[in-house]
Symmetry: C2
Subunit: 555 residues, 2 copies
C-alpha cells in the first residue's frame, strides 16, 4: 500500500481521546473537524509550574535523493516510546501548501509511521499559515499606506526591506514594481513576494514563548531604513497589535495523531535556511509539560538543522535535549559513497563503507553540544544484512551505536529497540546540553565557530562590507544574537555536489541579514530561493477530486 | 452596552445543539472551535429529496450614512420567527478580513439581533476566504508558469485578464509590473491584485450548486486571450481540479448562532457590485431543506441587491422567494429628504415625508418580481412617534404595510409583529416569483430593462465598442447569461449624491466584463474599486489584545 492508502485506512480516534492521553480537558481543545484541535492558550498558561519531560531530537545525515526518513523516524520513535509504556508525544512542523501544487505533496512520515489526517496537513490544515500570510501582508500594506499618506517616518522607499508573502510557488512575484497607476496608488517602487514559510513572521511565531513575546518580536521587525540608514520598525508603523490579533489562534499548537493514535503536535514551519527550521517553541514546551518524552525534529541534515536547533531554539527557549537520534539509511550511505541513484538497488558494501564518514562527522559534531546520540538505520526493503552491518560496524568504531529500525513497515514494533535505547540514554543522565558559542561572542566569530567546528572549513570568506555590517549591528545592540546559517543542505561545504566528509574548504558568506524580530542574524552562504517556482508540469495539473470523493494527485 | 459587549455576553450553546435544532447529526457537523461548524457535503447530498421551506428576502432602501440595519433585521426576523414557533434559519454573508483593518470591523447584525462569535466572523472565521485566495492565486501562478515554460497556448501577455487577489486593503498592489528580474522570473507584464471578495472564484463559490458544478465553473473562467482574441480558459491551464480541491471544505456552509441560539448560516461574501452579493446558493438551499423559514439578505439597496438576488441567484438556483422585507429607518428617510447627518437627532416629519419616495420606488420595483413585500421600520431611539407614523402612512398609501421593529433593543420580542406579518404573507400564498427578463433577451436589452424598470432611467448610454462586445459574446454563446450591474449603491442613478426617487436620468455603461465561470456579464456604470486602500489612520493601528485577553479596536 502507498503512504496515502495507509493514511486513509487509519483507524483515527476522535481528537478529544488523543487529548485525554495528555490530560488535556475537552474545553481546552479547540476542535478543527473531528481529528484536529488547537490547545487553548489558557490551558498552556496553566501548565507553567509543571515539571518538563525529556526532549529527544531526531536529526539526520546530509540529505540525498535516496531519502532518509527523518519525520518517519520521529513518528516511529514516538510510537515506539508509547508502545514500551512511556507517555510520549511528537512535535513536527506544518507543511507549506504552495509547494504541494508544484511537486507532489509531502507526507508527514511514511509507511506505518505517519501522522494523520494527511490530506488536510498538506492543504489548509488549521489555517496557521493563512494567518501568517494575513499578518505579514497587513504590515506591508500599512507600510505602503504610511508612505502614501505623507511618510511621516521619512522612509526611504529605495530601502524598504520588508517584502510581501503568499503561500504559493509563484516566480512571477519574486520581483515586481508596485504602486503603479498614478497618484491614487502611491509611489512606485521595487518590491517582491516570498513564500509564506520564508516570512520573518513565521520564524517569530515559531520562537515566541507567548502572545506578549510574539507582539514584542513583531514590533521589532525592521521594515525599512531612512536615508540616514536608521531602521524603521513594525512598531513605528503601529502594526504589531493588529498582527498579534491575526496570529492569536495560530499561536495555539495543533494536536493530531499518529496512525497508532498517539499525540502529535504539528505546529510552525519556518524555512530551514533563512530561518531555524524547527517546530514551534510553544508546541515543544507545551508537549514537554504534558508528556514524559517529547520527540522532535529539525530541518535538513544535522549540520544545518541540529546546529540551529541547539544554537537558536534550545538556547532561546531554555530547552535541554537529553538525546539525539541521527537518522541514516543504507541507500544514503551508498550515495555518499559515490553510487548513482539508479544503482541503489544493488548490494554494495564498500560504497556503504565509503559513505559512512558523512555520518561519522555528524556523530562527532553532535558531541560538541554535550548531548549523547544514537544512530537509527531507517530500513529499506532492498538493504542487505551485510550493508546494515557495515553501518553498524562503522558507528561502533566511532564509539556509538546504530540500531536497525523497521517502523516504516511495522510501526512501533519496528522501533521498539530504538525506543528502549533512547530511554536508556535519557535515564543514563549523561546529557549536558551546551550551545556551541556564547551569546557575547562577536557575530563574525560565531559564524567562524560554526564553519570550523561543524562544517570543518578552514576559513570564512567575507568582504569588508559584510564585516562592517556585522560590526554596525553589534554597535546597535544586536551582537548577542545567534547566527542562522543559510547554506546548501546537501554538503558540509557550499557546493551541493560534495558529499561525504570533506575538509580543506572555505565558507564564503555572500550576504548577511538581520531578523531583528525573530532574533538572529542570517549568514547567506550561496543561493537562497525565498519564492520557489512551479515546474514545467506542476502536480496541480493532475490534482482533483476523484469519483469516490477522494483527492487524487496530491501525493 | 455596545454591540461587541452584547456579543461577548452572549450565552452561546455548543454548535452541536444548534445543529440539532435543524436535525443535523453531530458526525455531519465539522466543528471549528465550539461555536462554529461546517455542514458536511455528504449530509447536504442526503437532503436532495426533501421539501423546501419558505424563502424570505430582506432588502433595503438605498443605503445612507445613517444606517439601515439590513443584517440586524435579518437576524431579528429569524429570531422573531423562531419565537413565534416557526423553525427558522437565517442565511447571511461572511465578512471580508482586509477592510476590518481599515475602518472598524463590521458586526453581523447589531444590538440584540446579532450573530456570534463576532470577533472570529470578522477575522479568519472558518478559513473560506483564505481558501479562495489560495485557489485564485494558484490559477494565476499556473498561468504565468505556463507562459514561462514555453506558452504552448499562445497567450498574449498583454491580454491576461486574470489578476491576483489578497484579502487586504492594499492600494500598492492595484497595478504592478510582475516577472521582473531576468530570465528565471518570466516575461515582464502588467498585472494587479484585487481584494479576495472581488474574485470571480468567490462569485463562483457562491453560485455553484455542488462540487461538480464548482469545478465546471472554475474551468470556465477566462484568464487571457490569444493574439487572435480567442479566450484561454482556466481549464486550458489545467487548474480547475486543483482549485476544486482547495475549495472543497470552503464549499461547505458554516453554521453559527444568533444571540437567541437560533441557527445562522454564514457563507460566501461576493462583492455586491462586480458580483451578485448574496449568501451562497449551497447555504441557502441547504437551509431551505432544514428549516420551514429561511431569511436571507442581499447586498446594498433593493435596486442593486434585490435585483441581482432575483435575476441572478434565484433564477440560476431555481429559488422561489415568497416574501420580501424592505428595511427602512426614519433617519434614512430624513437623509433622503435632505437632512444632514448631524441634524438627524431632531424631529423632522416633513423631511421624513420628503424622503419616503425612495422607499416607495423600491416597493413598486419589488412588485415586478411577483413577490409580496412588507416594510420593516428598524427603530432607533431618537425616532419620534410622529415620524414613524409618517412612514407608515406613506407605505399604506402605496397599498403596502410598514411595521415598527425593535429587535435591536429587544431581540425577538421586538420583531414578533414583523415575523407574524411575514408568516401571513407566506401563508397567503400570493407569491409568484418571476425574473425581470427572460434568458433569451439580448444582453444589451437586459441592461436596458433593468435601467428602465428598476432605476427608472430614460436611456442607456453605451458606445459602439461596448455594444459590439456584447454581440460578440452573444455569438460565442454567452447571450443567455443574466447581467450583473455595477453601479453606486447610494442612488438609483450613477450619481451617488442623487437621493430620493429621481427620474429623467441616463445610465452610462463604461465597460462590460464577462464572468464566464460565475455566469454573468458585468455592466460597469461608474467607478469600481476592486482593491480598496487603507485610510490615513487605519483601525489596525489601534487593534490589539488587551490585558483581559480580549480584542480591542476591531469594532
Amino acid at each position: 500500500m502507498s503512504d496515502i492508502e495507509i493514511a486513509r485506512a487509519a483507524n483515527k480516534k476522535p481528537i478529544q481521546e488523543i487529548g485525554a492521553k495528555l490530560d488535556i480537558p475537552n474545553e481546552h481543545l479547540l476542535p478543527f473537524g473531528h481529528d484536529k484541535a488547537k490547545v487553548s492558550e489558557e490551558f498552556i498558561r496553566s501548565l507553567s509550574g509543571k515539571k518538563n519531560g525529556h526532549l529527544v531530537l531526531v536529526t539526520a545525515i546530509n540529505p540525498t535523493p535516496a531519502g532518509e526518513g527523518k519525520t518517519t523516524t520521529t513518528v516511529g520513535l514516538g510510537d515506539g516510546l508509547n508502545a514500551i509504556g512511556k507517555k510520549a508525544a511528537i512535535c513536527i512542523r506544518e507543511a507549506s501548501l504552495g509547494p504541494c501544487f508544484g511537486m507532489k505533496g509531502g507526507a508527514a512520515g511514511g509507511g506505518y509511521a505517519q501522522v494523520v489526517p494527511m490530506e488536510e496537513m498538506n492543504l489548509h490544515f488549521t489555517g496557521d499559515f493563512h494567518a501568517i500570510t494575513s499578518a505579514h501582508n497587513l504590515l506591508a500594506a500599512m507600510l505602503d499606506n504610511h508612505i502614501y499618506w505623507g511618510n511621516e517616518l521619512d522612509i526611504d522607499i529605495r530601502r524598504v526591506v520588508y517584502r510581501r508573502v503568499l503561500d504559493m510557488n509563484d516566480r512571477a512575484l519574486r520581483q515586481v514594481v508596485c504602486s503603479l497607476g498614478g497618484v491614487a496608488n502611491g509611489f512606485p517602487r521595487e518590491a517582491g513576494f516570498d513564500i509564506t514559510v520564508a516570512s520573518e513572521v513565521m520564524a517569530i511565531l515559531c520562537l515566541a514563548t507567548d502572545l506578549a513575546d510574539l507582539e514584542k518580536r513583531l514590533g521589532d521587525i525592521i521594515v525599512a531604513y531612512r536615508r540616514d540608514r536608521t531602521p524603521v520598525y513594525a512598531r513605528d508603523i503601529k502594526a504589531d497589535g493588529a498582527m498579534t490579533v491575526l496570529l492569536q489562534q495560530a499561536m495555539q499548537p495543533n494536536l493530531v495523531q499518529t496512525l497508532e493514535n498517539n499525540p502529535a503536535f504539528v505546529h510552525g514551519g519556518p524555512f530551514a535556511n533563512i530561518a531555524h527550521g524547527c517546530n514551534s517553541v510553544v508546541a515543544t514546551t507545551t508537549a514537554l509539560k504534558l508528556a514524559d518524552y517529547v520527540v522532535t525534529e529539525a530541518g535538513f541534515g544535522a549540520d544545518l538543522g541540529a546546529e540551529k536547533f541547539m544554537n537558536i531554539k534550545c538556547r532561546k527557549a531554555g530547552l535541554k535535549p537529553e538525546a539525539v537520534v541521527i537518522v541514516a539509511t543504507v541507500r544514503a550511505m551508498k550515495m555518499n559513497g559515490g553510487v548513482d541513484k539508479k544503482d541503489l538497488g544493488e548490494e554494495n558494501v564498500s560504497a556503504v563503507e565509503k559513505g559512512c564518514p558523512n555520518l561519522g562527522r555528524h556523530i562527532e559534531n553532535l558531541r560538541k553540544f554535550g548531548v549523547p546520540s544514537v544512530v537509527a538505520i531507517n530500513h529499506f526493503v532492498t538493504d542487505t544484512d551485510a550493508e546494515v552491518q557495515a553501518v553498524k560496524d562503522f558507528v561502533a568504531s566511532m564509539g556509538s551505536e546504530a540500531i536497525l529500525c523497521k517502523h516504516w513497515a511495522d510501526g512501533s514494533k519496528g522501533s521498539a529497540e530504538l525506543a528502549k535505547k533512547v530511554v536508556q540514554i535519557v535515564e543514563g543522565g549523561t546529557a549536558d546540553y551546551k550551545p556551541l558559542y556564547p551569546d557575547d561572542m562577536p557575530l563574525f566569530e560565531k559564524m567562524e565557530t560554526i564553519a570550523k567546528e561543524i562544517y570543518r572549513a578552514d576559513e570564512v570568506l567575507a568582504d569588508a562590507k559584510i564585516r562592517n555590517q556585522l560590526k554596525e549591528w553589534e554597535n546597535q545592540g544586536y551582537g548577542h544574537l545567534p547566527v542562522c546559517m543559510a547554506k546548501t543542505q546537501y554538503s558540509f561545504t557550499t557546493d551541493p555536489t560534495r558529499r561525504g566528509a570533506p575538509t580543506g574548504h572555505s565558507l564564503p558568506i555572500r550576504e548577511v541579514r538581520l531578523s531583528a524580530g525573530a532574533g538572529f542574524v542570517v549568514a547567506v552562504c550561496g543561493e537562497i530561493m525565498t519564492m520557489p517556482g512551479l515546474p514545467r508540469v506542476p502536480s496541480a495539473e493532475s490534482i482533483c477530486i476523484n469519483e469516490d470523493g477522494l483527492i487524487d494527485g496530491l501525493f
